[in-house]
Symmetry: D2
Amino acid sequence: MEDKNYFRKKIHEIKTRVRYQETDQMGIVYYGNFFVYFEMGRTEYLRDLGLPYSELEKEHIYFPVAEARCRYRSPAHYDDVLVIQTWVSELKHATVEFSHNVLREGDSTLIAEGSSKLACLNEKRKPAPMPEKLRKLFQ
Amino acid sequence: MEDKNYFRKKIHEIKTRVRYQETDQMGIVYYGNFFVYFEMGRTEYLRDLGLPYSELEKEHIYFPVAEARCRYRSPAHYDDVLVIQTWVSELKHATVEFSHNVLREGDSTLIAEGSSKLACLNEKRKPAPMPEKLRKLFQ
Amino acid sequence: MEDKNYFRKKIHEIKTRVRYQETDQMGIVYYGNFFVYFEMGRTEYLRDLGLPYSELEKEHIYFPVAEARCRYRSPAHYDDVLVIQTWVSELKHATVEFSHNVLREGDSTLIAEGSSKLACLNEKRKPAPMPEKLRKLFQ
Amino acid sequence: MEDKNYFRKKIHEIKTRVRYQETDQMGIVYYGNFFVYFEMGRTEYLRDLGLPYSELEKEHIYFPVAEARCRYRSPAHYDDVLVIQTWVSELKHATVEFSHNVLREGDSTLIAEGSSKLACLNEKRKPAPMPEKLRKLFQ
């Protein structure tokens, strides 16, 4: 991925263990599931900032994903413990981009790297500037 | 499953092809995915009756699942075409139970059989008797 | 579910947080995902016994699910922390049944209860008696 | 996405109906599920060329995803019929990139556009040049 580390003030880490359900018949984690890991990373990043996403939705602020990408570097397997790193890599008027690395715990192999850009929507589900309290937290 | 064929006036059939995503590292369809197949069977059964579930929800009638079960008879594999049979096996004041068979097209192997019981909820998400128009359709 | 507590020597507990991906448009956890939670419970139960399922598969012993069921008692929501309880409720020559409760942490609401029966297969994927070391651990 | 239409000799189309399971609590298709739609598009594209992916794996040729991306243009909802367009947008020595559009049938709204790059692996799961018969089909 491009160098988008200029915002990398804070890298948040969580761990998750690969579920049997997440594998496919190639014996590895199905590629689409990494976007679920990214979502988990974003959720815990926001909680850590003091603003759980579940509370944002209660205030009728929504952050659907506008763009997502992933590069797969090495396969992950059932029962692997994965480390999901998340940081804010771009902050604009009405969007925020998170970048993510997924590593395997133990041998620190880089499994995947990617990003997810979210757009801010208001209670009418229309594009809206990001609430000031959120912007401040991201900076 | 028990004999619940007394309502078996109508067996509705749909077909679906097993997605790579639906397999697991055992090389077969992950067991939890059969409940997704059951949901597809229910959806098309209702559409065929003239009452798409999407329209029921627009009228704020909800049918969450209260109970579900499945017996796995033979494994299903990637790219298999599955036939999902659905029929109403029990109709009560505020619940309806669907029964399901899943067969493989071609050799007609029985892959799985199961059921899903749905409870009727009103716009306040409280248990409610089934709307009369639905009851009539099911009978 | 029926009373199958006679084996309830040991109840194993894990926790998991509901992912956004696990919800559906009813705003609750999709019913099929509880079978993923059951799988997680079984995985950690076996690890706790000292026999990770990943190692069993390396010895070419497989435990596909032969039967599964779930009763849904109360909805679970995004970001809920769920407690998944797992115990062995029936042990036969070539099958083992696990029973599961899912509770919400905090208010201890019973969310769901169910079971999953696994059949033992050997390296040729044929039904086989359960290996003695496993039988002893389950007892 | 960049203009990668130079290979656009053939656009393959399939249709799929959005499953309830594929929605999330925002009432729209969960973003990760579009990569499942892309996989379905690739599967049917290959079948249409006369080379089902299931047969490639039987010959121990594997095509894991090396890179994937998606831009989300408009939300998709439960029961929508989606048209998934797939074409080969880049062909190299050991990789092939598919591009995808997802449209809603009926109003032809562009829902999402993306791509998935696959790497060829041989029976030892090592990178390998693409088999000649495949290369010819893609050209």
